[in-house]
């Protein structure tokens, strides 16, 4: 048993990302997840290309997968919180402090819970994977 624990520790250590890598990955993947949600909701190429009124979904895909206006708004509310927490983590890293990932991870779990309520199409699963990658450890 002890030998397996040592092996696990070696593998875990070898695979561990540095905090800065983790923060960058979280940032990129959350942004990409936001773009996919924009594609599903509005048929837009990315979140910046959305319609002027962004609180409702306009695509037929959104209807098909259960992305209601309420879920769209809640998804973005939680995502805004995750992005904000990511900014804080980045600032902590820049200041040479040990970042607190707990709140960021909690926000990520909230977003994942919402994604879990949608029909699990390949694009939805891609969005889920990206958000999971945003859950820094």
């Amino acid at each position: 048993m002890k030998k397996y624990l040592v092996l696990f520790a070696i593998v875990a250590f070898g695979c561990a990302k540095t905090p800065l890598q983790v923060a960058t990955a979280a940032h990129d993947s959350l942004g990409l997840a936001q773009d996919i949600e924009a594609q599903l909701c509005w048929d837009a190429p990315d979140a910046l290309h959305g319609p002027a009124v962004k609180t409702s979904c306009t695509s037929s895909t959104a209807k098909d997968i259960g992305l209601t206006d309420a879920r769209h708004r809640l998804f973005n509310e939680k995502l805004a919180s995750a992005i904000n927490l990511h900014k804080q983590v980045t600032a902590q890293l820049d200041a040479g402090k040990t970042p607190d990932y707990l709140a960021l991870n909690a926000a990520i779990v909230d977003v994942l819970s919402l994604i879990g309520q949608l029909q699990q199409t390949p694009k939805v699963q891609q969005m889920k994977t990206l958000v999971q990658q945003g859950g820094a450890k």
Binding site: A47, L48, N76, A80, N84
Partner: protein, 68 residues
Amino acid sequence: MTPQEVQAWADVAVRLAGVGIQVANLIHGWIVQAHPTLTPEETHAAYQALMANDDVREALAKQAAGLA
């Protein structure tokens, strides 16, 4: 573009997104106008840098959530 310029564009995008203006094409046009010597690839890279900005992402998410 320098990081300072990206941040400046990000600030503009955040302000515009906050008042419900469809900003993507505007921003793209302004980058081209401000940097006429950029190649299409460089312009695209500048746009990508803008979209990699947390302030922009947060503002867009808040707008979609109805919080901005």
